[in-house]
């Protein structure tokens, strides 16, 4: 086996992590370069992306545990002996320091996390709104598209895509972010003002899959 083949094998092993967006920038760039020069590798990457989509869908259909899990847990915790307070470790103290900038009460911690996510989505949302309001006339009183109306996909942007790349991608396609990101970094994106037949939506998804800005895309309602 030549060193070139060994290198290629190493790259192929990284494809699942590249699709999931968990490679560091250096490895992600190596994989991207290999995908550009090797059509067979690119074909195999499409298989990996199919697997990624199927795994997400499979897990998302599993639902959530009932309230019983939490009730049981806290009943057991309440039965535990009380513990004496101890000091914080160094990393926790550093984290605590930065945590001081968020609302003090722990009850608001979840809300703060949600807010951060909404703000992040908002940055993309505002960017898209600005791009969509350029040329044509719009009334100031109502949105151009009613909520829930249109054709939708879920998209996770590629880790190596910059904000500039995403802006151009959204502008060029006239897409709107309507929700997200979820815990998995997925955005719900309106890709058409009216609903599309599933064959058309699937064809669009297939086309979007080849865009380097897109890490993962699938049709949704």
């Amino acid at each position: 086996m030549t060193s070139e083949h060994k290198e290629a094998d190493g790259i192929e092993e990284l494809l699942p992590w590249h699709a999931a967006g968990t490679l560091d920038r250096r490895d992600a760039e190596r994989v991207e370069a290999a995908l550009k020069r090797d059509p067979e590798l690119a074909r195999r990457f499409e298989m990996v992306r199919d697997e990624l989509g199927a795994t997400i869908q499979l897990n998302e259909t599993l639902g959530a545990p009932s309230a019983r899990a939490m009730t049981d847990l806290f009943a057991k915790i309440d039965a535990e002996p009380k513990r004496a307070p101890r000091g914080l470790g160094l990393s926790a103290r550093i984290a605590e320091f930065f945590g001081g900038f968020t609302p003090r009460a722990m009850a608001y911690a979840s809300a703060a996390a949600v807010l951060a996510i909404v703000l992040q989505a908002g940055v993309i949302g505002v960017m898209v709104t600005k791009s969509g309001s350029g040329g044509s006339y719009e009334t100031a009183s109502a949105p151009t598209t009613a909520p829930g109306v249109g054709a939708f996909t879920i998209i996770r942007f590629a880790p190596q895509a910059t904000m500039d790349d995403i802006t151009k991608f959204m502008e060029m396609n006239k897409f709107n972010v309507v929700a997200g990101p979820t815990a998995g970094g997925l955005y719900k994106v309106r890709v058409g003002d009216a609903s599309l037949p599933s064959s058309d939506l699937n064809a669009l998804v297939k086309k979007l899959q080849s865009d380097k800005v897109v890490g993962f895309v699938a049709p949704t309602r």
Partner: protein
């Protein structure tokens, strides 16, 4: 950002902060549940196990050293609990999902293919993988864990993580082929 917050929560939990435990639970319990459920394939057992996982987090918070993300640490606890449960009751392996897969398996591949679309067959094949292969695929694709994090959770070398993922995907291709889909790989 979330990783740091998780560390703060763990520190507070180590001091007996019940509210911090509620926040950590709210933040992670669904993913931990799904990870466990995919391994044990029994909802009631998975619910029991996540209570145990978070109880361990409560008890061991003071020992958490921050060498991995909190979510990685919790998934490694969850994995240990799930595999222990499987060893105790191997019948968890055969549930409705598996039974359905076996049933579909008896069809002629062409009939199966006609019945279901490719994505559905792919999900079905994934459900028919071994625990070991399902686990690595879920950790990489759904839980978005890096090679290093998977190695830490599963307690195997990083090179083995890559090899295991490769063989899991290869097995997936074989299962798809049995269902009438030839991916032309490996």
């Amino acid at each position: 950002m979330q990783t740091s917050s998780d560390e703060v929560l763990i520190s507070r939990i180590a001091n007996g902060d019940r509210l911090a435990m509620q926040v950590l639970f709210a933040r992670h319990h669904v993913r931990v549940y799904r990870f466990v459920l995919r391994l044990v394939r029994n909802e009631a057992t998975a619910e029991d196990l996540i209570s145990e996982v978070f109880l361990d987090v409560w008890r061991q918070a003071a020992k958490f050293e921050g060498r991995s993300a909190v979510s990685t640490w919790m998934l490694s606890i969850a994995r240990f609990k799930a595999l222990s449960a499987l060893r105790r009751k191997p019948e968890y392996e055969l549930d409705e999902e598996t039974a359905e897969a076996i049933e579909d398996h008896s069809d002629d591949p062409e009939v199966t293919l006609a019945k279901k679309d490719k994505a559905a067959l792919l999900r079905e094949a994934m459900s028919a993988l071994s625990v070991e292969h399902r686990e690595v695929i879920d950790l990489v694709y759904y839980h978005e864990k890096s090679v290093e994090e998977v190695a830490r959770i599963v307690d195997i070398p990083e090179a083995t993580v890559k090899t295991r993922m490769f063989y899991a995907r290869k097995k997936l291709s074989e299962l798809l082929k049995e269902r009438g889909i030839d991916r032309g790989w490996p």
